[in-house]
């Protein structure tokens, strides 16, 4: 097996990176269209750990052929991805101010045009099959490249997720990691069957090695997300929608928010106070 020439990042402070992601997410939610804040905040720690300590990617060579791949299957959490990509140097942080504004390449869901986006997403239930394709290519090439797919728990109501999960389980595809951002909430309320144990049981039933972790505890997340993976592996991350902003936490209505100046200031104060 050949090794990627890239090394995993060694961000000394993934907690600071996560805080930076959250600040930028709130900033983008001040824009004209608002943003999908709740699910971006629930996945901020996962993204910080992936881009701070796991994924072998290079902001100076975002299309390096032997990089690890990341697919944000819950594409509506785009602002979280944009924040971490900008903070890690894939494009200038200043560009985040354009989110949702005419002419910006920062659309509401990840576009093809953005450095660091390995596959455009937004329609739920597509990312796992795409990730399986990435993993099959790496398997056949005999490289140790990894593919990481981040899904929502609500997203797993899409049947295509389980088509792909079952196919990957049958194929025993190595190097494929599926993370569930299990925040338990969707637009209309609680995710039915969104309990982490039940979500994990479904992945296990499809033949995936499965574990449940605290999705906000970096000391638990980092080892759980580390490879290599001999076969398909699922990490179900227990998270809190809107994590970090007390008036959004655990609130379904934090799913998509436009922040006024006053609300933004309040959210930012809570974020800082709770660090």
């Amino acid at each position: 097996m050949s090794r990627s020439h890239l090394a995993p990042p060694t961000c000394p402070d993934t907690a600071a990176l996560a805080a930076g992601i959250r600040e930028q997410v709130l900033q983008m939610a001040r824009g004209p269209e608002g943003a999908h804040v709740g699910g971006a905040l629930s996945s901020a720690d996962i993204l910080a750990c992936l881009y701070g300590g796991i994924l072998r990617v290079d902001p100076r060579a975002p299309a390096a052929p032997d990089r690890d791949r990341f697919v944000l299957s819950k594409g509506h959490a785009a602002v979280g991805l944009y924040a971490v990509l900008a903070l890690r140097g894939f494009f200038p942080v200043a560009e985040l101010a354009g989110f949702g504004r005419d002419g910006s390449r920062l659309t509401g869901h990840p576009p093809w045009e953005l450095p660091g986006v390995d596959f455009a997403t937004g329609s739920l239930g597509h990312g796992l099959a795409v990730g399986l394709g990435f993993a099959l290519a790496a398997q056949r090439a005999g490289t140790d490249q990894r593919t990481v797919v981040l899904l929502g728990d609500g997203e797993q109501q899409e049947g295509s997720v389980w088509e792909a999960a079952a196919a990957a389980g049958r194929m025993a595809t190595p190097g494929l990691l599926a993370i569930t951002d299990c925040n338990g909430l969707q637009i209309n309320g609680t995710v039915p069957d969104g309990d982490a144990d039940r979500v994990a049981a479904r992945w296990a039933a499809c033949g995936w090695r499965t574990e449940i972790v605290d999705g906000h505890d970096h000391a638990a997340l980092l080892p759980a997300l580390r490879g290599p993976d001999a076969g398909p592996r699922a990490v179900v991350a227990r998270t809190v929608k809107g994590k970090g902003v007390r008036f959004m936490q655990g609130q379904a209505r934090s799913h998509h928010v436009r922040l006024t100046e006053a609300l933004h200031s309040r959210a930012l104060r809570q974020l800082t106070a709770d660090r």
Partner: protein
Amino acid sequence: MSDAPSQKDAHIAALGAVMADRDDVWCLDSDVGGYRTTLGGRFPDRYRDFGIAEATMIGAAGGLAATGQMPFAHSLAGFAAVRAFEQLKLDVVAPGLPVRVVATHSGLSAGHYGSSHHVCEDVAALRALPGLTVLTPADAVSTGLLVAALADHPGPAYLRLGRKAVPPVYPPDAVLRIGEAVRLAPGDDVTVLASGPVPVQVALAAHRALAADGVGAGVLDVHTVAPLDTAAVIDAARRSRLLVTVEDHSTVGGLGSAVAETVAELAPCRVVRAGVASPPAGGVGGHEELLSRVGVSAASLAATIRGTLARH
């Protein structure tokens, strides 16, 4: 024509040659039979069976192609083009990835299988996806030639095949180019533009019947429906009093619509569309029988042409 190869047989032979020649070409299967025992046996590291999971196969094909590979993804037309339409749209065509979707059982070719397996809206849907090449070869030879050509063709493609063996149209040494319609029979009173095996046979038979009456009915095999060979269509419109399209597909959105759109904008000419305007009634029928019930037969076509020319 039971001794003739089916389009699928020809495709498997041609894809086998492509895979032997090219290390980046894959065969993806969705439990449709015929591929596992042939290409799967020859190229096990580039063959994957996703099971009865067409959307997953198309999405994974997008992922594979995004890494620089060229997957041929196999299913039946209804499942590949209609069920997995969104995966095709978002994960293959939007990024312009070189995935080749190969679909058998198109149009009414599934015959007695019934309406769940009749697929007469795929070309209409897929023609609306910019940059997707849509191929409808008329026989086994042209299927093989187009598969070979796809190995060097940029962007995504959909290869629309039938189910059973079909009569030969082309000699083995024929030359076909993606995007170029082929004139199969001369005649300038009317030009018949046909796509797919039965439509081309119907058009050629109508040509012979009309020739006996002194009516010159030229026949074009429009094996590439998208992008349409607009030069050939405009040329036909300028030479003929009437254009007639014949397809094993809805009269809405397929070849007939493509031709009508083109001449309406660029070379106004009367167009009559033959195709599956509505599902065939009458229960079980074979491919040709079902098409004849909706007016796609040599006799019906010749009568339409005689009547239309007489009125105009």
